[in-house]
Amino acid sequence: MTGSPTPRSAGARQAAPIAVAVFAFGASFGLLAGAAGIGTLASLVMSATTFAGSAQFAAVSVLGGAGSVAAACTAAILLNARYLPIGISVAPAIEGGPLRRLVLAQLVVDESWAMSRRPGGGHDAGLLLGAGALLYACWVAGTAVGAFGGEALGEPETLGLDAAFPALFLALLVPQVRTRRALYAALLGGAVAFALILFASPGIPIVAASAACLVGWRKA
């Protein structure tokens, strides 16, 4: 990646406010996983290897509701299918050998991906990995706190933390919409997601919305 690199510490600083919300949701995941009969070690391993909140909540709620293993896995993997296009978009920012790239790619979550996006296009590697590392640490630590008795923390919803996420994504979307193509892609993506919420299981609306990027097609 050329251009002035941003230090990873700056990425971590920028992600700090959302890291608080991620920690709280990690704690509620640890708590819910315990209630669904998933052991502390299993929920910690899941947070460390999957590191994607919505998919983990989905898997645990299916298992806790006496759903099948196949249903739990399918729901979670469908939710995470959006990381295929997201991974392709950050690929230029992740350098090094194949193993290093595979490991660093795991730090990519919606929030670190969105924050590291440059207004002019492409992703800032320092912001991506710095924000990703902080959010990863907070997610795993939050899971541990929740699994070892996080009832004292209270519900994240009471603190309005679930409203922090759409606000974050909107704040990051606005500076992206600088061209007509970007505006069309955003409107179409939002409309596709909205229309599918009622008819598709969670996760599918986001994956389907990524097809709106086709408005960016240019003849080579």
């Binding site: 959302i18 298992l63 990381y83 296009p85 309005g160 974050l168 704040a171 993506g189 997601a193």
Partner: protein, 102 residues
């Protein structure tokens, strides 16, 4: 192996594959030619979808609750050119206040 551990293993492997495929295969390069244009419009499309699903998404239902008022407050904060931190905090505070009063 218990059911929980099977789910942990399968979902973990599936997620590692989804996240890693692009960076491992492309290896620090971007997509060629006209496909690069698609990656540029992928971000606004996905971000808009995340805004919508995080604001009103439920399990096959639309849920209109305090999140939406938090998001409305965020719109005002963004229009006032508030920094990211302020936007996020305002949204959470408004949603929390609405829930406390409801």
């Amino acid at each position: 192996m218990s059911e929980a551990w099977i789910v942990v293993a399968v979902v973990g492997a599936g997620t590692v594959a989804c996240k890693g495929l692009g960076p491992v295969v492309l290896g620090g390069r971007s997509l060629p030619g006209s496909l690069a244009g698609l990656v540029e419009t992928l971000a606004p499309a996905l971000l808009a979808a995340l805004v919508v699903t995080q604001a009103v998404g439920g399990d096959r239902e639309l849920v209109f609750d305090a999140r939406l008022l938090g998001l409305a407050a965020a719109v005002v904060a963004i229009r006032l050119r508030a920094p990211l931190l302020a936007v996020v905090v305002v949204a959470a505070a408004v949603a929390a206040a609405v829930r406390a009063l409801a």
